[in-house]
């Protein structure tokens, strides 16, 4: 894979790339998911999940740092051999596409329920897919530049989330730890399944400027930011809603914002959704890009543009023909488990293989 200087991205861009890959569709439903497991201690569960995510990120970093000029699809053959590596490559490509597909499904679902109830969902899918293809067919540097620009929306989201604090009741979090360790760990497990996106690091690592320690610092920073960001979201929901309420609303953040109005804008949730769309888009784009890079390298091509187009429309078709809500739930649950394999399992395994190979080499 060519790593020309022009394609390189700065560490700032890496930071926002990770942020924009991770933050996306999940933020609306995460508080509900965690709450159904860990109740009022949900925020502790998210903090714990943050540690797990940081460890996962470090595994991905450690693995990539062994190959400073090769990405996942390049170094798989040297670790796994010709055939097995092909299988794993295909596995990753399918996984990336599946995540993109799920993002698309959930996006269509939420937009239909909250903003445009009578617009055919295919039109909404098409809007997201066509815009994403337009960006994902560009080089990584353009994509990361875009990720950096749209990150100015993150503070806006946070500020919007500050509005409900005024009428929150901190008493809701007490007594801390009432649900017990088991429930908290269960919640943490759920959280770490739904906070994914940093595994794209495996694909873009060789393009980042700087040495390994510098990059590690950026990754740690981003994981810290993500942990605090999600903890804040969940905490906010927990102190705003009573337990009975939070158990019944799948998108607590939107309900929370809906109950407020400024003098200028009556429905903040619409404003929130309009901005949230962009963060969903970047998640979708980044996965689409990673998948098409994978396909490109699988077939030894030079250009990923056609594959982006094909992959995007594949997601669109799949989403159109499987848009059943129960099926979505099933796929979502399945992907959560699969993500564990691709985000943590396989990288850890590869890392072990590297160490074993090193040991054997030293033994000789």
């Amino acid at each position: 894979m060519g790593t020309r200087q022009a394609d390189k991205i700065s560490r700032l861009e890496l930071f926002f790339f990770i942020l924009q890959s991770v933050i996306g569709i999940g933020i609306l439903s995460l508080p509900y998911t965690v709450f159904s497991e860990s109740k009022t201690d949900a925020w502790i569960a998210v903090l714990l999940a943050g540690i797990a995510i940081t460890i996962n990120m470090m595994i991905n970093w450690k693995l990539s740092s062994h190959f400073p000029s090769a990405n996942l699809f390049d170094f798989l053959p040297t670790l796994l051999g010709k055939y097995l590596s092909k299988a794993v490559s295909v596995g990753y490509i399918v996984y990336f596409l599946a995540v993109a597909y799920l993002v698309l499904l959930l996006f269509g679902d939420i937009i239909t329920r909250w903003v445009l109830p009578r617009t055919p969902v295919l039109a909404i899918y098409f809007l997201l897919v066509s815009t994403s293809i337009y960006l994902a067919r560009e080089s990584l540097s353009v994509i990361t530049r875009f990720c950096v620009i749209v990150s100015i929306f993150l503070p806006v989201l946070l500020i919007l989330m500050l509005v409900p604090l005024n009428s929150s009741h901190f008493i809701y979090i007490f007594p801390i730890g009432q649900t017990g360790l088991e429930a908290i760990f269960k919640g943490a497990k759920e959280t770490s399944f739904s906070i994914i996106g940093y595994e794209l690091l495996l694909v873009i690592y060789p393009f980042v400027k700087g040495n390994h320690t510098q990059i590690r610092k950026v990754i740690l920073l981003s994981s810290a930011f993500l942990t605090l960001f999600y903890t804040f979201l969940v905490f906010n929901c927990v102190i705003f809603f009573s337990s009975e309420e939070l158990e019944q609303i799948p998108e607590p953040i939107l309900y929370m914002l809906k109950s407020f109005s400024f003098r200028v804008i009556e429905r903040i949730d619409l404003l929130f959704l309009s901005i949230w769309i962009v963060t969903v888009l970047t998640t979708f784009v980044n996965y689409l890009f990673a998948a098409s890079i994978g396909i490109k390298q699988l077939f030894h091509q030079n250009d990923h543009r056609h594959f982006t187009l094909a992959a995007g429309f594949l997601c669109l078709l799949c989403a159109e023909f499987t848009g059943d809500r129960f099926l979505v739930q099933k796929i979502s649950d399945f992907l959560a488990k699969a993500s564990f394999l691709f985000v943590a399992g396989i990288p850890l395994l590869l890392l072990l293989i590297i160490y074993m190979k090193k040991l054997r080499w030293h033994g000789r």
Binding site: S10, V115, T131, E138, R145, V264, I277, V278
Partner: protein, 465 residues
């Protein structure tokens, strides 16, 4: 001395090459030396010819004659074709036959220099500061620029472009400030231009720019001397074309198109404020009608309760969907604007009154368009006027139409996606290898204060050189 054959041969050759009637020749014999003077009547200043050539020549004799020619001629030429070329640029050509039969050719600049006086460009007025504008003569424009920048690093490179027009083009830059890669790129592209004629700058721009299909202007056209000088001082290139009063400046960024010399004449807080207002103007000009359409047709609940009744009242009797309503008014405004430009100033003003007041009022009374829509469209039009670059103004005017269509189909979602596509496009664009949306993308926080705002000169660290 190069052999051109005899005096007769040369004359035959030149007359055969230039068969035009305004080619004149004068034969003189001074002190047994045969002189022939060629010039194109319509390009030549006859007074200059008489004073600078004929009268000194007629006073001299023998040895001195050659010296005189040496001192008054600007160049000795070595081919008859070259002589023809210089004739076409307004020079006179003297062929001198010495006693031994050797011919020599001399070129003297006797071109007439008609040009209009230097005045402030109509399209780019500023409130205070320098009011010099460029004119249609390359040499005068270069003079004006050199007067502004007396720097040994100010380089002028001449090119002759256009096989039919043979237009003189000058590339101007400050050596110590420009990016060497961009310089190589620009000189290479200029040297490789193959075109028939260079009559307008658009010809040149389209040939040398990266994306001829780009929606945004990738170069800045200006007629202001101070703007050219300021851009040169920022390490950009200026391309001047003989016969045109406007200069092409490249490579530009989105934000440099939003700068005006006025920003730098004002105090920095005021300058920053004005610049931020302009950028807000960009957002309003592109999205306001779209936002209005999406609110009216999709998200009525976005408006505060107190406003709903009054908006509802003005909208309820309008027969058309908001998109059509908006298109009617936008089209009217565009027509008025175009009519106002093409007409004489006095008539232009009355068009403004008829259009703005009479049509606006009548259209609302007739119930075709709601009065809120009139406010929206008027605000949009005014916002699009604040762009200092004429070409960007056109892009901004066009940009809002796709956004309007998208918002009428998808509401706020459409605007978000439309704007996202615009942002992606801006991130993609590059002008001579420089990102167009710099310093926002790629983000350089330190440069932001000098592009979005205008920071004080006291904060500025000057680049070397």
């Amino acid at each position: 001395m190069i052999d051109f054959g005899s005096q007769r041969d040369l004359e035959d050759y030149i007359k055969a090459t230039l068969t035009t009637d305004d080619l004149l020749t004068k034969h003189l014999t001074i002190d047994q030396l045969n002189l022939t003077i060629y010039y194109i009547d319509t390009l030549t200043d006859i007074d200059k010819l008489n004073q600078q050539i004929l009268s000194p020549l007629l006073q001299e004799k023998g040895e001195n004659l050659l010296n005189t020619i040496h001192s008054i001629a600007s160049k000795q030429m070595d081919s008859a074709d070259q002589a023809v070329k210089y004739l076409l640029r307004g020079s006179s050509v003297i062929s001198l036959e010495e006693q031994d039969g050797q011919l020599s050719l001399w070129n003297l600049d006797t071109g007439s220099a008609f040009h209009r006086s230097i005045s402030e460009p109509v399209g780019e007025k500023i409130i205070e500061g320098g009011h010099e504008g460029l004119v249609e003569r390359l040499s005068i424009n270069l003079h004006l620029i050199r007067k502004k920048i007396t720097n040994k690093d100010l380089i002028v490179r001449y090119y002759r472009l256009g096989t039919h027009t043979d237009t003189e083009v000058a590339l101007v830059y400050i050596q110590s400030l420009v990016d060497q890669d961009v310089l190589d790129e620009v000189t290479e592209r200029l040297a490789n231009i193959e075109t028939d004629s260079v009559i307008s700058q658009a010809v040149l721009e389209e040939i040398i720019e990266d994306n001829p299909l780009s929606l945004f202007p990738m170069m800045l056209n200006t007629e202001r001397v101070d703007r050219v000088a300021a851009n040169l001082a920022e390490g950009r290139f200026a391309i001047l074309i003989d016969g045109l009063a406007s200069v092409i400046i490249l490579p530009v960024t989105f934000f440099s198109l939003y700068q005006s010399p006025d920003d730098y004449n004002a105090r920095w807080i005021n300058g920053s404020f004005i610049r931020l207002i302009r950028i807000a103007g960009f957002l309003i000009a592109t999205t306001l009608p779209a936002f209005y359409i999406s609110v009216i047709s999709f998200h009525f609940e976005l408006i505060p309760n107190e406003l709903i009744t009054s908006i509802h009242e003005s909208v309820q009797h309008i027969p058309y969907p908001p998109l059509i309503e908006a298109f009617i008014m936008e089209l009217t405004i565009e027509l008025l604007r175009e009519a106002g430009i093409r007409l004489h100033t006095a008539i232009g003003q009355s068009i403004g009154i008829v259009g703005g007041l009479v049509i606006g009022d009548a259209v609302v009374r007739a119930g075709l368009v709601s009065n809120i829509m009139i406010i929206v469209v008027a605000l949009t039009a005014i916002s699009s006027f604040v762009v200092p670059s004429n070409e960007l103004r056109l892009s901004v005017r066009i940009l809002r139409f796709p956004l309007m269509v998208l918002s009428s189909i998808f509401g706020l979602l459409g605007i978000t996606f439309g704007f996202t596509i615009l942002l992606i496009y801006l991130c993609k664009l590059e002008s001579f290898g420089k990102p167009f949306f710099y310093p926002v993308s790629p983000l350089r926080l330190r440069k932001l204060k000098d592009s979005l705002a205008r920071s004080s000169f006291t904060f500025k660290r000057y680049p070397k050189g």
